[in-house]
Amino acid sequence: MSRRLQHIFRGDPWIWAIVIALSLIGILAVYSATGTLAFSKQGGNTEFYFLRHTGFLLIGLFFLYLCHLINYQYFSRLSQLFLWISIGLLVVTLAVGSEINNATRVLPIPGLGITFQTSDMAKLFLIMYIARYLSKNQDEIDSFKVFRNILFVILIVVGLIAPENMSTALVVFTTCCMLLFIGRINTKYLAMLAGGGILMFTILVVVLLNLNTDNMGSTRIPTWKKRIEVFMGKDGGEGSYQQLQSKIAVATGGILGKGPGNSTQRNYLPHPYSDFIYAIIMEEYGWMGGALLVGLFLLLIYRCLRIVIQSPRAFGALLALGLCFSMSFQAFVNMGVAVGILPVTGLTIPLVSMGGTSLVFNSIAFGVILAVSRTIEEDRKKEKEEPVAAA
């Protein structure tokens, strides 16, 4: 039985298990958390968001399955083309994207009535591209030229995301830096970059806090300022309200939680189904539920490390690690916000938070990781068989 399953679901079974577990947790949490949204937007049709989420998830899992059957080395080439498409779409999004919460983050897909967050796509292909670039240039990885060239690409993408979605941009940038680090870019340069980044960020924060934002209504600048102020405890506005309600959710959940569907804080939290999904999980499934989720993402990273150990090629290792860090990092930021150790951002937990196209892109990311894992496994089997055949 397990063999037959292994034949259909190839690659690391642990990662498959993680995908299934995250999906199930997500469906449960989203169904519970969308109750009030369903009442205000869908006339009390509580199944609407549940079905929509599940639908996107199934589409995503379909793509995941397809991706994991592809030899991962094809992604190396694909990444070049798709990165430039993504950059083009990011530009279009900035120009015409529809407004959500004063942020033009999404691009409507004509005819389908759905929108997609172009940053999700860009993130995926940027990581692929970096993995390709680093593996191709392992021989002169220490040179400043390699560092400069890849940093240039990263900054283009991050720069296009940043104006409308600073938190995603920061997460993408940090993930990329980690990837550069793992990819053996000279630590000296990275340290300089980190130092510079921290300096820039500090300056930005200081400037923001002292800036009169009265004349910047149409940009996101006042919102950034507000959020930083909130995190620093300066403003008693909406943000501190959100954080307070989130902390209440975590605190009242206790060790074992209130049970599925019993969240009360979902009525007080904005976007309980995405930005504050971890708070809802903590409330309904308690500390244990929250720990399970943390454990799943740590396990994901660990399994990807196993891939690195086995991977004969740098590309596969970097690709799997990059994607898994990107998703885990995002998840940890979401969790950090929920428990109050990070300021309020609009980041989601991959596969768990309600989403449309982001579910599909995250599934594809998992599919790519599994593709790497599958290819390596099968190559190793062949290697083992070869000597037998030779003898």
Partner: protein, 718 residues
């Protein structure tokens, strides 16, 4: 082969190093993730277990609350659709001086918008000057006040106008201004039918408002609010809870005009007689619909007001109006005929040691049953009853039970009391019970019950359920229509009903209510004069006067009951005291009811109205459409086209009016429109005050015309 191997080894060697380097660094990052994951879980544990009591439920309750959003209460309408009670929405203008939109609005744009908004505010609400408004809003902005009620209780018209004002037009999130709606209950009839329409106050539910509260109330919604600095509360938009569901409207059968007449007539009679309290109820014969219901009680200052619904609530000894039951029983059981004679001994006999006597000495020793009823002879009725039911009292009681007199009638307005009909099995039944019960004592019923019984007789024996709500509506659409309901298809045989009706006609024609006789239409009814018992004793000089009847007697349309309690100025007979109220109501109904007019067999010509001076053509159009003939005095009318009208009995005479094109005309007696036309054609500027017809003009008629003339007209109503 070996060379290739070496090559591959050489190529693989750096790869192995690379892999190791990558792995080491990856483990480092994994370590970071592990630390962060642990940090998340530790923080969560601290929130759950730590001393951070601030995140308990109690804190949440302190900082947020869920409040009811009141649903708009439904309206109550009269039968013609006019409003009796309504909840009008009132709006409070609310401002969030630091909403996202305002906080991020460029300063110069904000200032420009706010300045022009203040101009509008100062014009609309002059209690604050432009400068005060400006500094008011500047202060709110400076202090970042998140929730403040700028203006309370605004009407819809004002709100509609304000929606185009700067900032307000941007809506709640961008402009910071929004409205909060609440309902205010308005009663349009003042004291009229106040008790009948009722009210809800501190869980006391009265009248229709109380009876139909569940429908009128609707369902309140809920929303969440967050505590703001300064103990104010601001609604939070987090997936709203439940929208309120507005209440249903109810359409009553009440006739506003009739209610007015009934109440005024009742008030006058009560005041004239210095009576304690009274009620008057009008019921439509064929349906049982209540067209008017007035209840008045004397206050400490001698004025009357609606404080209690006596018509449905006061269960007491009805007196002579109850004789209808005994008479009905005697006839229906075939025990007596209207012509049967009874010894009344001039109106006073002894019965079981008690004195039974009529209101005054009778002129004869013997009365027929018909005469006993018409003259309201206590002795006549009670002796007749004693003779036929003395050995079988239960049989008479059965008639009362069959009519449901022992049960509280089902009605839209609840009553708190209970009727009481004694039966031979009752512990307090005695020898005297039967005769006294037959004349309306030792029994407790409400005026409404008496009214239902008489209405059944007027309706050829069919007893109708009284009702006051005929339709339930929701936003103008009919949800349900309440149809008249028959309680008893035939309370007695046709002969019995015919005989009873004849007796009741006799009461008005030559009996105790002959003062009510009208030349216009026939009335039938019964008077009642009961001594009022206070506890067990009947107090001397304490009476209840009543009259219940229907009209027109030959084709009954309405049944009316009038009860006057404790008149204190001499007269206390039902016919004399309660009768006038009945007559006022009947006359009003007679004058307005199309159902009654044709029965009179006449089709009176409309009386000629008063006609203003004015344009010939227009006057003719109006008169013709009213079917009033008019005669123009001579062909001269056509010369000027203006006429003066003179009223004849059934027609109007129109005579020409001379208006010179060179002089100020005489516009006195004209309507404003005609006068302005005439004067402005002569280049005279017109100002005016008042309304109605013109009674004064500042320039005398005949003044020569010249440029720049001004005239002031004074108008007065007719």
């Amino acid at each position: 082969m070996s060379t290739t191997r070496k090559k591959s080894k050489a190529a693989a060697k750096p790869k192995v190093n690379t892999r190791r380097a990558i792995l080491v660094r990856a483990y480092l990052v994994f370590g970071l993730a592990l630390v962060f994951g642990v940090a998340v879980l530790v923080s969560a544990a601290r929130l759950q277990l730590g001393s951070d009591k601030q995140f308990s439920e109690a804190l949440k309750q302190k900082n947020t609350r869920v409040v009811d959003v009141r649903a708009v209460r439904g309206n109550i309408y009269a039968d013609d659709g006019s409003l009796l009670a309504t909840s009008i929405p009132r709006y409070d203008l609310v401002f969030d001086a630091w909403s996202d939109g305002i906080a991020s609005m460029p300063g110069n744009i904000y200032k420009r918008r706010m300045d022009s908004l203040c101009l509008f505010m100062a014009a609309q609400f002059p209690d604050k000057t432009l400068e005060t408004w400006k500094s008011y809003f500047a202060n709110l902005r400076k202090n970042k006040v998140r929730y403040v009620v700028v203006r309370k209780d605004l009407g819809f018209d004002v709100v509609k106008r304000m929606k185009t004002w700067p900032l307000i037009d941007l809506g709640k999130f961008k402009g910071g201004f929004w409205y909060e709606e609440h309902g205010k209950r308005l009663y349009f009839m003042g004291d009229l039918a106040r008790r009948t329409i009722g009210y809800i106050k501190d869980s006391v539910a009265i009248g229709l408002e109380g009876a139909f509260d569940s429908l009128l109330r609707g369902r309140d919604g809920k929303r969440m609010e967050q505590r703001m600095p300064g103990n104010t509360w601001r609604p939070v938009q987090v997936g709203n809870y439940k929208d309120p569901l507005n209440g249903y409207d109810i359409v009553t059968t009440l006739d506003v005009n009739l209610q007015d007449v009934a109440q005024n007539a009742l008030n006058k009679v009560l005041a004239d007689n210095e009576a304690d309290h009274g009620c008057a109820v009008v019921m439509e014969v064929s349906t049982g619909a209540i067209k008017a219901m007035a209840n008045l009680k004397r206050g400490k200052d001698g004025t009357y007001g609606e404080t209690q619904n006596f018509a449905v609530d006061e269960f007491s000894e009805p007196g002579s109006t109850f004789k209808l039951l005994a008479t009905l029983a005697l006839l229906e059981d075939g025990l007596a005929k209207p012509t049967d004679s009874v010894d009344i001994n001039w109106g006073e006999v002894k019965m079981f040691g008690e004195t039974m006597k009529d209101a005054h000495k009778q002129p004869k020793r013997f009365f027929t049953l018909q005469e006993s009823f018409e003259q309201s002879s206590n002795v006549g009725i009670s002796r007749m009853v004693l003779k036929h039911y003395g050995k079988q009292p239960g049989k008479l009681v059965d008639h009362a039970l069959r009519l449901g007199l022992n049960l509280k009638p089902e009605f839209d307005i609840r009553s708190s009391g209970q009727p009481r009909i004694k039966t031979p099995k009752s512990p307090d039944w005695s020898n005297t019970t039967l005769p006294w019960m037959s004349i309306g004592y030792e029994t407790k019923v409400s005026p409404m019950q008496i009214l239902m019984m008489y209405n059944a007789v007027a309706n050829n024996g069919r007893m109708m359920k009284p009702y006051m709500v005929k339709e339930i509506r929701k936003e103008g659409l009919t949800i349900s229509k309440i149809e008249p309901r028959v309680l008893d298809e035939k309370i007695a045989g046709e002969e019995t009903i015919a005989a009873l009706r004849k007796m009741m006609e006799g009461v008005v024609d030559h009996g105790t209510a002959k003062n009510l006789k009208s030349e216009d239409f026939l009335i039938a009814g019964k008077t009642g004069t009961a001594k009022i018992s206070k506890g067990k004793k009947y107090e001397e000089g304490s009476y209840k006067a009543s009259f219940v009847g229907y009209f027109p007697a030959d084709k009954p349309q309405y049944t009316v009951i009038v009860v006057i309690n404790e008149p204190r100025k001499g007269a206390y007979y039902g016919g004399l005291v309660a009768g006038p109220v009945f007559r006022d109501i009947a006359e009003k109904l007679y004058a307005t009811s199309t159902a009654i007019l044709p029965t009179l067999g006449t089709n009176p010509l409309p009386n000629a109205p008063y006609v203003l001076k004015g344009n010939l053509g227009m006057t003719k159009v109006v008169l013709n459409s009213l079917g009033i003939s008019s005669q123009a005095d001579s062909g001269q009318t056509g010369v000027t086209g203006w006429i003066e009208a003179r009223k004849k009995e059934y027609s109007v005479a129109l005579s020409p009016l001379s208006v010179s094109p060179k002089q100020v005309p005489d516009v006195r007696g004209m309507g404003l429109r005609d006068a302005i036309q005439l004067l402005e054609n002569r280049r005279v500027a017109v100002t005016y005050d008042g309304y109605g017809r013109i009674t004064q003009q500042s320039l005398p008629p005949g003044t020569a015309l010249q440029d720049g003339l001004k005239i002031h007209l004074t108008l007065e109503p007719f």
